[in-house]
Symmetry: C2
Subunit: 192 residues, 2 copies
Amino acid sequence: MSLGKKSPFSPQAKRVFKGVIFDVWQWKQKMFDGSMETFERIKRPDTVQVIAVVKDKILLEKQKQPAKKGTFLSLPGGRCDKKENPLKAAQREMLEETGYASKDWTLWKKFQLTSTIGWTFFVFIARGCVYKQAPRLDAGEKITTTLIDFEKFLALSDNPSFHGKELAGFLMQARFNPRLKKKLAQSLFHTK
Amino acid sequence: MSLGKKSPFSPQAKRVFKGVIFDVWQWKQKMFDGSMETFERIKRPDTVQVIAVVKDKILLEKQKQPAKKGTFLSLPGGRCDKKENPLKAAQREMLEETGYASKDWTLWKKFQLTSTIGWTFFVFIARGCVYKQAPRLDAGEKITTTLIDFEKFLALSDNPSFHGKELAGFLMQARFNPRLKKKLAQSLFHTK
């Protein structure tokens, strides 16, 4: 069963399931002994996240979502729409969720969580954010925002309420490695 | 379309696709404004990884796999078989891939990469590993092993050839946080 579309994996891969978020792809792969096995991978929309700088603080979201218990902390961000450029998606999500906008964007990190799932994370730094308009939340979002300082931001790296564990390793590096900490502070605040 | 089986997500969730590795589950979720949306999650077999201690060294694998270019580094480990206990899976994978066995096992970390995919990682420490038998590799595995010291082990945390980026954040913590580094060294080598 092939549902067409160009494969993000092996050229032979076929999409065998198309979901709301997740698509499943399969192909026959030759093993080292010549035997064949079915390999399977997942593809899903990419994720954008924003480290939004407001003067000397960073914008943090407190969020509730259907099907998740309690309140969690997160950065502004979300899924890229179909064929949406990651930077555009980051700008759209930040404006929708927080009402803030910026004219000074940099890609900080681009990474995949794991090799078996086609899913890229783009983490942007948005400097000089200003409040533009009231947030426009989806029916599946309840979001308020708060401003935290750099030390509190780095401390999110092992805060169980922080819903950004994909990022936590990078924050942890910056928290404990003085060279990386200084470099990130410079990227965020243009300090020397 | 429901394919039965108990849901690992919402009690209303139904399995709508059953793959070789990945299953897809969906349910109708009430939004904050009362509207309904289809939520979707992935379930896959859990993963085990082993920090295998051989005297004062750690066992590292050099591996080739079909559909992956080049050689990569990894810890012993793999997927849990259906209903297989994670500790049993870890013991089985280490013996199959490396020929080493241990009688001294501890669970070091248990974590999920992300909330939208039902996939748990179990990372075990196996102390006092001894070589028991020749490895028994699958048709999809080419593995050799080498022994590295603790500092080289921690340095895997930002080695692009290391295929264990799920773990890299924890190794990074131990590498840069002296308290965590000492604690991990004690767990591995029983040093005071």
